[in-house]
């Protein structure tokens, strides 16, 4: 935590809310994390945990009624939360890019693949049409598409799902961004195609030296791809650490619960799954204390009243759970 300048991305106490007709939904609640150049960070969580909103906030892609209401985002020397839409447009696609979940809907069906790649290149660089075309072909080859020349002239519907996702990656990498955000990039794909895409992402990361934020609900994918993991629940990061710390020494009850509730393909014995009981939080009426408290087996009185402070276990590993602050709560429960 010493040298602050090393961080390529630093998000501090980020709060994002959606002002809906039925009330304010606090989608992100004091999210704090940092990334160094070349890091691969996995953000895991269930639907509605705020993992996608985190990346949209960072990209300035929040649609009405969403708004950043507090906190700071430092990315590559920019103060993102203060940027105007026009300024963001320069950064987006150039220094940071995103791949969306569904390659079927995120490509424009009425433009050829070539058009869509060339558009990005010409917007962000001063290459002329011919040079941009050549670069587009190069990019398609980079992401492992054969007959690139022919593919450039095709429309998205002529390509398979895996192919479309490769095109999305080519578009995202057109300007060699510092940071690539992958928002559930393989959820819509089959397992064998998923393996191809994940392999490709790691390969490109090593080749181009970019950082990746991998947003997913699949613990298998993060364990394969990522170095660090942030576990999100109800708009908060409940635990953060290296893959090994999260998988082998989890310190938050939610993380432990998640790990117990998924079947492992490589178990020879039939182990009964231990589900997390209850249902995810209603974000309109979040609990007062720890958001996971109502579903937590080890829930204590204090958990329902106060959000625990973050406790560090190592340089990389921290979590927010009252169980890790025994001294604090025993004192308080004696008083109570």
């Amino acid at each position: 935590m010493s040298d602050q300048e090393n961080y390529m991305l630093k998000i501090n106490n980020l709060r994002t809310s959606f002002f809906t007709p039925v009330g304010e939904v606090k989608a992100l609640n004091n999210v704090t994390f940092a990334m160094k150049e070349g890091d691969v960070l996995g953000i895991v969580g269930e639907s509605g945990s705020g993992k996608s909103v985190t990346s949209y906030s960072l990209l300035g892609l929040l649609a009405y009624p969403g708004k950043i209401v507090g906190g700071t985002i430092r990315f590559n020397g920019h103060e993102i939360e203060k940027k105007t839409e026009a300024e963001m447009r320069k950064i987006r696609g150039d220094e940071v890019s995103i791949i969306f979940q569904d390659p079927m809907t995120s490509l424009n069906p009425v433009y050829t693949v070539g058009n869509q790649i060339v558009e990005v290149i010409r917007l962000h660089t001063d290459k002329d049409a011919a040079a941009a075309q050549a670069r587009a072909k190069e990019l398609l080859e980079l992401v492992g598409i054969n007959e690139a020349e022919k593919r450039l002239k095709q429309y998205p519907h002529e390509l398979s799902g895996g192919m479309r996702q490769r095109v999305m990656i080519a578009i995202a990498l057109a300007c060699e961004p510092k940071l690539l955000i992958a928002d559930e990039p393989t959820t819509a794909l089959d397992v064998t195609i998923q393996a191809q895409i994940l392999e490709l992402m790691i390969e490109l990361k090593n080749k181009l030296g970019m950082s990746i934020i991998m947003i997913t609900h699949d613990l298998g994918i993060v364990s394969n791809m990522c170095e660090k993991i942030a576990v999100m629940y109800a708009g908060k990061i409940l635990e953060y650490g290296t893959v090994d710390e999260i998988f082998y020494t989890p310190r938050h009850e939610y993380t432990k619960g998640l790990l117990r509730s998924i079947p492992n393909l490589m178990d020879r014995e039939h182990k009964k799954l231990v589900p997390i009981e209850g249902t995810p939080v209603d974000m309109l009426k979040p609990p007062k204390g720890c958001p996971f408290a109502p579903r937590c087996e080890s829930c204590m009185r204090i958990c329902l009243e106060h959000m625990p402070e973050v406790v560090h276990f190592s340089d990389t590993h921290y979590s927010a759970c009252w169980l890790n602050q025994k001294d604090e709560w025993t004192k308080e429960s004696v008083e109570a």
């Binding site: 397992v191 393996a195 392999e199 364990s223 998924i262 178990d267 020879r268 997390i276 249902t279």
Partner: protein, 320 residues
């Protein structure tokens, strides 16, 4: 052990527009598939999208009429039979709990519909009691009977779908991707419920899913499908740890395991290319275009689906 269901040489072809007048083309969604399921057993069916696993499940229940082949349920050939009496004994749970419940019916009526059709309740009071008992069994309560599907979360809706299937006391249930639309923390709740209900009610499942980790967890035996063909069928552990078909091998190795140390050392076989179109599948073995072991014979001759070890069936020329 008693065989509850047997499928022999099942085929289901769908006509498709060929683009030319008078030329007929078909998609061979299920092509010559044979297997059986013992009473009280869970058979898992895995494969990628378009491999025919869902069509297999639906054709077994005659929700779609088979093109060819035989379906034998409890010793009776039901391929041509009147399905009404069998519908009570064979049920299905669908993938999408949002689309498979009628939004205009209360949960009580959704669950009760099967009771009415099969005339299982003598009067309204009995009907109500049975519905409430069923809802409680799947972790809901009597209050829920008067509510509509939109008032429930995904996990609760899937429970309603399960209650609807179970209320007529079936023996056999086709579970068609029943958990893939649910959140991770909810999946385990539903998987455990399937297992508990099976123990309590002596149910037999055909469990269809693309997530092999889940299928392996719940199944006794697993069948792997590729482009309408069953390519391998074996005991769940045998298939996971000693897969013989090159496709099963790559499928298993492609699944990301939630264990960082293991995933660092694991060998991965990444398949090249995409699944070919089922309209014009490759000749001979359908997997040969993506198979790294393919030889001449694979293009010429279709491999036979045969038992190579005890209860381990595989269709591949290379496996002897």
């Amino acid at each position: 052990m008693k065989r509850l269901l047997e499928v022999q040489n099942l085929k289901k072809y769908f006509p498709v527009a060929s683009g030319r007048l008078f030329e007929k083309k078909v998609v061979k969604a299920v092509d010559d598939v044979s297997f059986f399921i013992n009473k009280g057993e869970t058979l898992g069916l895995v494969g990628e999208s378009g491999c025919g696993k869902t069509t297999t499940g639906r054709t077994i229940l005659r929700l779609q009429e088979p093109t060819e082949g035989k379906i034998i349920f409890d010793g009776q050939d039901i391929t041509k039979a009147n399905m009404l009496p069998y519908r009570r004994r064979m049920q299905i749970v669908f993938q999408d709990p949002y689309a498979s419940l009628n939004p205009r019916m209360t949960v009580g009526d959704i669950v009760g519909e099967g009771l009415d059709i099969h005339k299982l309740c003598a009067n309204k009071r009995e009907r109500q009691d049975v519905i409430v008992e069923m809802l409680e069994r799947v972790g809901l309560n009597s209050e829920h009977a008067n509510r509509f599907p939109h008032e429930f979360s995904g996990g609760q809706r899937q429970r309603v779908g399960i209650a609807r299937a179970l209320v007529v006391k079936p023996e056999f249930i086709v579970c068609d991707e029943p958990i893939s639309a649910l959140d991770v923390s909810i999946q385990a709740q539903v998987i455990n419920m399937f297992e508990e209900l099976q123990d309590q009610l002596d149910l037999t499942y055909l469990f269809i899913a693309h997530d092999l980790s889940v299928v392996k967890h719940i199944s006794n035996r697993i069948g792997v499908m590729y482009l309408g063909k069953l390519v391998e069928l074996a005991d769940a552990n045998e298939l996971t740890f000693h897969p013989l078909h090159p496709y099963s091998q790559s499928l298993i190795s492609a699944i990301p395991v939630a264990d960082p140390k293991l995933s660092r050392t694991r060998q991965r076989i990444v398949l090249e290319g995409d699944v070919p179109s089922p309209i014009d599948p490759p000749s001979g073995c359908r997997f040969r275009t993506r198979c790294s072991y393919a030889t001449k014979i694979c293009a010429e001759q279709e491999p036979e689906f045969k038992e190579v070890k005890d209860n381990h069936f595989v269709a591949c020329h290379i496996v002897e």
